[in-house]
């Protein structure tokens, strides 16, 4: 620990010295008598001071929480010295991590003993928050010296984004040959009725449609659509974001991606993630709960990385975008590169949907009339861009932070239903 004199110490010494000197100079012994307690105080404080032997550790109640959820962090402070010591404990604070109590905590640790100081933590935003080491300041009994140091090691608290429960998802145009919940266009074993055809050798008797057979006079069998899964790739645009003091479009985009990932994995789809921005990260599509945790871990590591590099579809490995996969692009539509990527994917015939995380709420119009006009122009420009994408056959769902995703996805499905022949082309 680093020791230093407390700011009061020079003052106390100066008072004692001034009293003695003034007494000698003026011949007034009263001033010296007044100064004696100060001299004794300073002398005792500095003679008896010893470096405190304080050690400790930081422990978290759990290392994974949902954003906004509270948990307790415990700082164990152990005094191995022969005298009690007063310790101020100050855990790390950031704009994204609320700590209660708000200031430091002052405790007294007895000789050869240990105490626990509990703090309540609440991550305001998803992400990995480093807790510890904790800054401490120890003081001697009279407060003449300060000793500062750090306790414990860094513990990572991973705050997962809060998720919205989605009742309806974007229905994929193509499915994969794995058992799932989406009704495939193909005809095979399944539940959903598709058509009737004449009996062929190898057909099972249970497939025979007896009513149709009686009507047509020859054996007819039912054909059905099988239930298959699909591949879903969540493409997160991290080139740019609009951010105000409280939150930004990336915060909402990650929450949206987490909600979609959970919902699609719940429907037995294979889900992958591409973090498409200044840095490129991806997770190949896979099934199951483990994949959900992988995706959420990948999502909370997302951040905006500024880059001039031009990236396009060729920057991505082919296995990340499997043929026939439904690609959900989650973007604020602020960067030319991400808009170009969306157009390029559509040109290549990908099944594509854009979830636009609206930046309008994070960027208020300026104070002047000219600012208001510029803002309105920008808003119209964005609408034109959206119309352009829809003209390309891309469904665009506008999602404003604070609202629910469900209606936006319903809008997408309505668009896709009406434009299905064109989309399949």
């Amino acid at each position: 620990m680093n020791g230093s004199l407390a700011p009061r110490t020079p003052g106390v010494l100066a008072l004692a010295g001034a009293g003695l000197i003034a007494a000698l100079a003026t011949g007034r012994p009263e001033l010296a008598l007044i100064a004696v307690p100060f001299l004794v105080f300073a002398g005792a404080g500095l003679v008896l001071v010893r470096e405190p032997q304080v050690t400790g550790a930081v422990e978290l109640e759990r290392v994974r929480v949902l954003e906004g959820e509270e948990l307790t962090a415990t700082v164990r402070v152990r005094n191995d010295g022969p005298e009690p010591v007063e310790v101020e404990v100050a855990p790390a604070r950031t704009a994204q991590l609320a700590v209660v109590p708000a200031g430091t905590v002052a405790v007294r640790v007895g000789a050869q003993s240990e105490i626990e100081v509990a703090f309540s933590l609440r991550p305001r935003r998803w992400g990995a928050h480093g807790i510890g080491p904790v800054a401490i300041r120890a003081r001697d009994a009279l407060g003449m010296t300060n000793w500062e140091g750090r306790l414990g090691e860094r513990v990572d608290l991973r705050a997962f984004p809060s998720e919205e429960r989605l009742r309806e998802l974007v229905a994929p145009l193509r499915t994969q040959p794995f058992l799932g919940t989406h009704v495939a266009r193909a005809r095979a074993e399944g539940i959903e009725f598709a058509d009737i055809r004449p009996f062929q050798v190898g057909d099972r008797v249970r497939q025979v449609n007896w009513r149709a057979t009686a009507r047509r006079g020859s054996l007819q069998v039912n054909q059905r659509h099988p239930e298959h899964s699909s591949d879903v790739v969540l493409l997160l645009d991290t080139f740019e974001e609009a951010r105000d003091e409280a939150s930004g479009t990336l915060d909402s985009a990650v929450r949206t991606a987490a909600s979609l990932a959970r919902a699609h994995l719940g429907q037995r789809d294979r889900v992958g993630v591409v973090d498409f921005g200044g840095t490129l990260h991806w997770l190949e599509p896979a099934f199951g709960t483990t994949q959900l945790y992988r995706i959420v871990d990948a999502l909370i590591s997302s951040n905006i990385a500024f880059s001039y590099a031009w990236r396009n579809v060729d920057s991505l490995p082919q296995r990340v975008l499997p043929p026939g996969a439904l690609i959900l692009v989650i973007t604020p539509l602020l960067d030319e590169r991400s808009i170009a990527l969306v157009s390029e994917l559509r040109r290549r015939g990908c099944d594509l949907t854009v979830v636009e995380v609206s930046p309008l709420d994070h960027v208020p119009p300026g104070p002047t009339a000219a600012d208001a006009v510029a803002y309105e122009l920008w808003r119209l420009q964005r609408e034109a861009l959206r119309a352009h994408l829809q003209a390309l056959g891309i469904a665009v769902a506008v999602w404003r932070p604070g609202g629910t995703l469900g209606p936006a996805l319903e809008e997408v499905n309505a668009f896709r239903r009406s434009a299905q022949p064109a989309l399949r082309a």
């Binding site: 010296a32 007044i34 007063e86 101020e88 002052a106 405790v107 990572d156």
Partner: protein
């Protein structure tokens, strides 16, 4: 505390009561300024002013000086302590009690030593150059001893200029782990 100390002087100031009032007022202003600015210097200045104002008292100065000094020390400590703990969010009760007990104990010892010195003063030894030199040397020796002690403990480092602020908390950094 300040009021009690000031009243002790003003009550017996006699003809110099106006001066005592003025001194007490200045000390109160300095004390308030120090508390507001969270700076120990004005607080020490207030204590120094009250120390000088004590000379305005007309009688029993030698008898009361040890108690007065101990009172000033307590006042100084309480004010500084209040400033130190102003940024603390939560304080364990035994922190204040232990610190107050330690300060009162040291102030009492200081008052006793001061009283012994007062007895020596009243012994009737006449003032001389030799005695003044001895006194000055004793004072210098005390300060040199303290300075040597401080240097041995802390090296040549000076006092922390802003220790009344909370300890510098480390900044939590978002993880930069990459997932590919």
């Amino acid at each position: 505390m300040l009021v009690a100390v000031a009243v002790l002087v003003i009550a017996e100031a006699g003809a110099a009561s106006q001066l005592a009032w003025l001194g007490a007022g200045v000390a109160a202003l300095l004390m308030v300024a120090g508390m507001v600015a969270e700076s120990p210097a004005p607080v020490h200045a207030a204590v120094a002013v009250l120390g000088v104002v004590f000379l305005a008292r007309q009688d029993s100065r030698l008898l009361l000086a040890p108690l007065y000094g101990a009172g000033l020390l307590l006042m100084d400590d309480l004010a500084i302590r209040t400033m130190e703990l102003s940024g603390v969010g939560q304080i364990a009760p035994d922190v204040i009690a232990a610190r107050l007990a330690a300060t009162i104990a040291v102030a009492a010892i200081g008052a006793c030593l001061s009283a012994v010195a007062a007895l020596a003063v009243t012994a009737g030894v006449s003032r001389s150059v030799a005695l003044t030199v001895v006194g000055a040397l004793a004072a210098v020796a005390a300060f040199v001893a303290i300075a040597v002690l401080v240097r041995r403990r802390f090296g040549s480092s000076a006092a922390d200029p802003h220790p009344a602020s909370p300890p510098p908390a480390p900044q939590a950094q978002p993880s930069t782990d990459e997932t590919t």
